[in-house]
């Protein structure tokens, strides 16, 4: 009699069986954090992939076959990401995997994808994903190192000597903090304070007051919404005037909307997509960026963000590799991916080599300022 209790639980499994889909289209899989704390990254990525797949299929697909992307939401949960990748590899037997959105989930599933010899193009930025290089693992988000280098270069031109850092205590913040603590002293600055705030924290006056006590020339705040917007507002409330750099994590209109007037005068490195319209005519990517931005705005009635760009780049790189390899075998796609040179994407110009599966150079970031609620291009 008690054994029947187990059958009830196991039959809930079989409900998930679901019908197998037709074999004809090229099947790609995507694991994105459409819900949960990283949904502001995952949702634009999902929207972009859906938009771009329709565009590719309208233009005849690739190798004459339509492309189908099975998008699974991992809800920013590591267990769900593992289960989703398992399902894509073993049940949907996809040719390549796009995502995951977050560094943590990417690190968790890398091993499974590599073991199954299926190429995975992560949408997250952590350097550990492609260093040391895993033959099957690529990433499209520019490394934090490039963004920090861009900020420090700007700080040098301003003649700042003492810098303080304030980072969020999640995957994104920690990755940034590690690179900041390495490069700030390395570039000849003095690190006066190293403060942290929680992703859900709602008041950072204590940290800012502490930082103010060490009288830095400038403060670098590394985080993603809503934290940095609270930091910007607290800075105004405390009447602080020390220059404040933000990270590419808040390179979206949403940040300006949340921070309101407190965003004025802030500086941050960002992908060119953020201020696509304001790029000089000579920029090679401008046309592509503006087209993507307007198409996204039209279809989803929301301003585009750099994170959506990661979805765009991962999909198009995969499709390009399938075209180059003239086959949808995972092994062939992997080899083709590694040989892609000078691919103009949203995040920048991608060039992969067997040693560099990140593919982006310093040109991925430009320095933006915020004036009266809009972006201003400050430097290369």
């Amino acid at each position: 009699m008690p054994l029947q209790t187990i059958l009830l639980a196991l039959c809930a499994l079989f409900v998930a069986a679901g019908p197998a889909s037709a074999a004809e289209p090229i099947r790609l899989g995507a694991v994105l954090s459409v819900t949960g704390p990283a949904s502001f990254l995952g949702e634009p990525e999902k929207n972009t992939i859906l938009m771009e797949v329709d565009k590719i299929n309208a233009a005849g697909g690739v190798l004459g076959r339509p492309v189908e992307v099975i998008i699974l939401d991992d809800e920013t949960d590591v267990n769900k990401a593992v289960l989703a990748v398992d399902r894509l590899i073993k049940k949907e037997n996809v040719a390549a995997i796009l995502g995951p959105t977050t560094s943590g989930n990417s690190l968790a599933v890398m091993g499974k994808a590599a073991a199954a010899k299926v190429p995975l193009i992560s949408c997250s930025a952590a350097e550990k994903i492609t260093k040391p290089v895993n033959p099957y693992i690529f990433k499209v988000a520019p490394s934090d190192r490039l963004a920090v280098a861009r900020i420090l270069a700007h700080a040098k031109t301003k003649g700042y000597k003492k810098l303080a850092i304030l980072t969020v205590s999640d995957g994104f913040g920690q990755a940034g903090r590690e690179v900041l603590k390495e490069l700030v002293p390395a570039e000849g600055f003095e690190l006066t304070a190293d403060e942290v705030f929680g992703p859900k924290d709602t008041d950072m006056t204590a940290q800012l007051t502490k930082i103010q006590g060490t009288s830095p020339d400038a403060v670098i705040c590394w985080g993603t919404n809503p934290g940095p917007a609270v930091v910007a507002k607290n800075r105004v409330q405390l009447g602080l005037t020390t220059p404040l750099y933000m990270s590419h994590g808040v390179a979206s209109k949403k940040f300006i909307e949340l921070a309101g007037d407190a965003a004025d005068g802030l500086l941050l490195p960002a992908g060119k997509i953020t201020a696509a319209a304001k790029l000089p005519g000579t920029d090679a990517q401008k046309a592509q960026l503006v087209a993507y931005a307007t198409a996204y705005d039209e279809r989803y009635k929301a301003p585009v963000s750099t994170f959506g760009g990661h979805g765009y780049d991962s999909l198009h790189l995969a499709v390009r590799a399938i075209a180059d390899a003239k086959s949808d075998k995972p092994e062939a796609i992997r080899d083709a991916l590694e040989k892609i040179k000078g691919f103009a994407g949203i995040g920048g110009i991608f060039t992969f080599t067997p040693e560099d599966h990140a593919g982006l150079g310093p040109d991925a970031f430009i320095m933006l300022g915020i004036e009266k609620g809009d972006w201003v291009i400050v430097g290369p």
């Binding site: 054994l3 209790t5 809930a12 499994l13 409900v15 998930a16 699974l72 949960d77 073993k90 690190l107």
Partner: protein, 323 residues
């Protein structure tokens, strides 16, 4: 009065093991195996937590912390200190039990909602340590490179081999729980759940028994943590936070309080449910919440209680026909 066959629970646990081992053959696809592995990991914790909550009546909203302690202990022991995996596993279980032993004394003096708050607070403190002690635990972006489980020279490479191991571990844990509950310790725990006054008047040391079941349930959570770390070879603080502790409590209550089989059923059901709801795309969270509310409403004594009543009804129907 029929003489109880002492080996009844051994037979039940054995049948249960056979059922678990038969599952992979029945599964249409290997993908479900990873759900079964995560389900059995959760079941090990749920069985332990049920001993504490269902039998002894002591609520805990912090058990994900012991799960995490086990996982991080073996991760750090086997990578940073290069210790062999069995030593790492032992370290994981002992650390969870030791921390539980220290915390038990002051915490278990509290009762009801105050005990819930104390365990909740403890769970949050530990999860903050996982998140902030970056150089020890790898911080929020997690701990990478934990070796895949290898015991006595055999590495459990494939999911199928790992599932077989988990089936054996779960069956043993169920057997331990069944035997424990059918002994003087089990009776003492169920007694102090109803009336501590009466239990202590009969010579039962309330504090010692509470501490024992608290440490045992923590050790089982530590064991699950160890097996989880060597399965995924990557762990992050987010999986050991407050929301997982709440999920564990729901598994126990949904499965059926004071029923070992109930917690096993509750654990598998709640692990499989989100995967089964993927078809609902965006509204899967709504369906999940609704199923939770409705199950508790229509099955107040959980899945196990509901099936017991179903069994009794069927038997009565059977009797009517036969009679």
């Amino acid at each position: 009065m029929k003489r109880p066959v002492i080996g009844q629970s051994v037979v039940q646990a054995g049948l249960f093991l056979l059922l678990l081992l038969a599952v992979p053959a029945a599964l249409p696809n290997e993908y479900y195996l990873s759900i079964c592995i995560l389900g059995s990991l959760n079941a090990v914790i749920a069985v332990g937590l049920n001993l504490l909550m269902g039998y002894a009546g002591q609520v805990s909203l912090g058990h994900a912390a012991f799960y995490g302690l086990g996982a991080y202990a073996t991760a750090i022991a086997t990578t940073r200190f290069g210790l062999p995996i069995p030593v790492g596993m032992a370290a994981g279980v002992t650390l969870a039990a030791a921390v539980a032993w220290i915390v038990a004394a002051p915490t278990l003096r509290l009762k009801g909602n105050y005990l819930a708050m104390a365990t909740l607070g403890f769970g949050i403190i530990i999860s903050i340590v996982f998140n902030e002690a970056v150089d020890l635990t790898g911080g929020p972006s997690g701990y990478v490179g934990i070796p895949r489980l290898a015991l006595f020279g055999y590495t459990f490479e494939s999911d199928r081999s790992y599932y077989t191991l988990m089936a054996v571990v779960l069956a043993l844990v169920v057997l331990v729980a069944l035997h424990l509950m059918k002994s003087r310790t089990g009776r003492a725990l169920r007694a102090l759940h109803v009336s501590e006054k009466a239990a202590s008047s009969l010579g039962i040391d309330i504090a010692a028994h509470k501490r024992f079941v608290f440490v045992l349930s923590a050790a089982l959570a530590g064991l699950a943590g160890v097996l989880y770390a060597h399965y995924l070879s990557f762990i992050a603080p987010a999986s050991f936070g407050f929301s997982f502790s709440v999920q564990l409590v729901v598994m126990v209550v949904l499965g059926g309080m004071a029923s070992v089989w109930g917690s096993v059923a509750g654990a598998f059901f709640l692990t499989a449910l989100p995967e089964a709801l993927r078809e609902f795309e965006d509204i899967d969270i709504l369906v999940y919440g609704a199923i939770l509310v409705l199950t508790i409403m229509f099955l107040p004594d959980g899945l196990a209680g509901g099936l017991k009543r179903l069994g009794r009804k069927l038997r009565r129907v059977g009797v009517d026909h036969a009679g």
